[in-house]
């Protein structure tokens, strides 16, 4: 039990080469088993974090600040759960989807790289050492580049290449920022940094460090105007990868941003000297409105959802920029809610691709008749993106709006509400094509159960957690209060 933190990272990490060795027949069963175990560990860690003080684990017995320490607090627990659960569900989905979309001789390699990606993402969320964050960031990013490149279209390759270039620049900026901080404080442990930075905060070195680290995180988070890698990456990646990355990678980058800003530099420092809100607020609003507007005009539904993701990322950053507990709670709960909704929606598109070979609006004509169950799942997921009450999306939007009201920013609340309407436009465009157009062929070809069950798990979860909100709200608000209270 006491070794759970390190097991969370090691089990997927070590399973990856084992999967490569086992070959095609055993790749999926072993991978999904590991995924379930990892999800179980993450839930256990979350409950441990909720029940008391943050759990600390010193690697190799070397304590902080000399050794690398893993820390599980409520915020880490939330993200570990998201990654673990989404990973497990997506891996169940992967069996038929990967068999359909990726060539046979590479499938076991695909699963191995998925495990590496999961391990990297978990590592980012659980470590309390900034350089370790960089290492795991690069592990997960490299795996992500490789996963995206496995898409069928040659554009997947260029999309992965562009993501690689931008992502590496981002990661290197983070590394540079870490170096500058180390120069000024002499430590790499997050808690230690937090206690030493205020003394040197007024130097240009520390300010430069903050700028580099934040921009690096923003590149990985695909905040406008550093978002150019995301649309192509999500559109041309294999369906499983789109579902997984859209539900986890950007959430983890947001986590990195939150850790950097709140835990390292501290709340009061941010408010007084670093003027973060003034920069992030306009960017987030542009992302929200711009992302949604561009989504309305897309003809490929995967691309539409990718631009919708840009808008949702805007919501995360908006909660951060509004700089109060309520808004940050909204952001954190939106991490969870969006993971379920977007993961579910991309899995719906995975079902469509499985049967129809693609997910453009033309191909989806009359889907309501040909694949009724799949089409209905899209409608429910879409309602969540719009923010209809009783879906998860409503809860996060409520908190963001109330947070905006509390800060006296009425117009921000107006923008959030307006963006819900733009979401109606792009979701309803797909709904109309699915239900009001004549299909090319009219035989029913519903997706297989192996794909439908994981899809509906996520979609129904987004409804359940829109009604039974208490547990996740408790987690998110505890995390937000912890960040603002400066508790360690």
């Amino acid at each position: 039990m006491s070794h759970l933190p390190v097991l969370q990272v090691i089990i997927p990490l070590l399973s990856a080469p084992i999967v490569v060795l086992l070959g095609r027949r055993w790749a999926w069963p072993v991978t999904s088993l590991v995924g379930l175990v990892t999800a179980g560990i993450s839930l256990a860690l979350l409950s441990l974090a909720l029940s008391g003080d943050p759990m600390l684990y010193a690697m190799g017995g070397w304590t902080a600040p000399v050794g690398i320490v893993y820390r599980v607090d409520v915020l880490s627990g939330l993200l570990l759960t998201i990654i673990g659960v989404v990973g497990a569900v997506v891996l169940v989905f992967a069996r038929q989807s990967v068999a359909h979309e990726i060539s046979e001789d590479r499938q076991h390699l695909f699963y191995a790289v998925m495990l590496l990606c999961i391990s990297g993402l978990m590592g980012i969320c659980i470590t309390a050492d900034v350089f370790n964050v960089f290492v795991f960031l690069e592990i997960s990013s490299l795996s992500a580049y490789a996963l995206i490149a496995m898409g069928r279209s040659p554009r997947a390759l260029t999309a992965a290449y562009r993501y690689l270039i931008m992502g590496t620049i981002g990661g290197t900026f983070v590394l540079l920022g870490i170096g500058l901080l180390y120069m000024m404080t002499g430590t790499l442990n997050m808690d230690d940094l937090a206690s030493r930075i205020p003394a040197v905060a007024d130097t240009s070195t520390v300010r430069a460090a903050f700028a580099f680290m934040t921009v690096g995180a923003l590149i990985k988070l695909a905040v406008v105007p550093l978002h150019f890698w995301l649309p192509n990456a999500y559109t041309y990646a294999p369906s499983v990868v789109s579902a997984f990355l859209s539900a986890t990678a950007t959430k983890v980058s947001f986590y990195v941003l939150v850790r950097i800003t709140f835990m390292l530099f501290g709340v009061s420092l941010l408010a007084q000297t670093l003027y973060m809100s003034k920069v992030l607020l306009p960017l987030s609003l542009i992302a929200i409105v711009g992302g949604s507007l561009v989504a309305v005009f897309q003809t490929d539904v995967k691309r539409l959802l990718a631009y919708s993701s840009l808008a949702q990322i805007g919501y995360f950053v908006l909660g951060l920029a509004l700089h109060n507990v309520t808004a940050l709670t909204g952001s954190l709960i939106h991490l969870f809610n969006h993971a379920m909704m977007k993961g579910g929606l991309f899995m719906v598109l995975g079902c469509v691709v499985y049967r129809l070979g693609g997910a453009s609006l033309d191909q989806m004509k009359g889907l309501g008749r040909r694949m009724p169950i799949t089409a209905f799942a899209f409608v429910i997921g879409g309602l969540g993106l719009i923010g209809v009450p009783l879906t998860a999306g409503f809860v996060s939007k409520w908190y963001l709006i109330v947070g905006a009201f509390e800060m006296g920013q009425w117009w921000v609340a107006g923008v959030i509400l307006f963006s819900s309407l733009i979401a109606v436009a792009y979701i309803w465009r797909v709904v109309e094509v699915m239900y009001f157009s004549e299909p090319v062929e009219s035989e029913i070809c519903e997706a297989p159960l192996g794909l439908l069950i994981p899809t509906y798990t996520m979609i129904i979860a987004s409804i359940i957690f829109g009604i039974w909100t208490a547990p996740m709200l408790h987690v998110a608000s505890s995390a937000a209060e912890m960040l603002f209270g400066g508790m360690r």
Binding site: V135, L142, A160, I165, Y182
Partner: protein, 226 residues
């Protein structure tokens, strides 16, 4: 005591910080290559330059002027332990016994061994020029000699305690090490960089197979048309 945190200060913007200026130039060159070149291999090279610049930054930050490789010297560790015990004992009693004076001489012997072995440039200048400065074996020696010449018992003790303090300070400045930690971190970063470049080049090979070119503007045109 070994100093692990001695780093070069980033104070002024003058020419003495030429290493940082070079790093900035390298970094910006790399970034410029990434942005301006359409040939994918050149972009990757630019990316690599950018990463190397950051690696150099870490290494440069770790190098202490006058510092040596951070390899442990057993005699110094021994001496350090003995001095620590001595200082604690003297702190409790406020007196330095004759036995302890002998111990001081032993410790000085250890230090002389170390100085004899280390190359010139690695030893703190204080120890060579000990006739002028307050630190060094010579200074400790002089303190002990003065102690023997003191008239009152209290004067003897006072001078001996001074000797112990001088010894402690000397020991902490025998050798200055460069900071090993950034080097270690950069080992990891180099590996990460290699993996990234390898992956990037693999992608370029596949892109070349798919599009028959590695010029980004040509690829954009091909993608727009298809």
């Amino acid at each position: 005591m070994m100093t692990f945190l001695a780093t070069t200060p980033m104070g002024g913007m003058g020419l003495s910080e030429y290493n940082y200026w070079l790093i900035v130039v390298l970094m910006m060159t790399g970034l410029y290559l990434v942005i301006s070149r359409s040939n994918m291999v050149k972009t990757i090279i630019g990316l690599n330059m950018f990463q190397v610049a950051v690696i150099l930054f870490y290494v440069s930050m770790a190098k202490v002027s006058g510092g040596t490789a951070p390899i442990e010297i057993p005699q110094l560790t021994d001496a350090g332990i003995q001095v620590a015990v001595l200082v604690e004992a003297v702190g409790e009693t406020g007196q330095v016994t004759d036995e302890q004076v002998t111990q001081i001489h032993e410790i000085m012997g250890l230090i002389k061994e170390v100085i004899a072995v280390l190359p010139d440039g690695d030893v703190a200048s204080a120890l060579h020029d000990d006739s002028v400065r307050q630190l060094g074996i010579g200074a400790v020696q002089r303190n002990l000699e003065r102690a023997t010449m003191e008239a009152s018992e209290s004067g003897v003790q006072r001078t001996r305690v001074e000797a112990v303090e001088t010894l402690e300070r000397t020991l902490s400045e025998v050798v200055v090490y460069s900071n090993p930690l950034p080097h270690v971190l950069m080992l990891t970063a180099i590996v990460v960089g290699i993996a990234t470049i390898a992956l990037a080049l693999a992608l370029v090979v596949r892109i070349n197979e798919a599009y028959d070119t590695i010029e980004e503007d040509e690829i954009l045109a091909l993608e727009a048309n298809s």
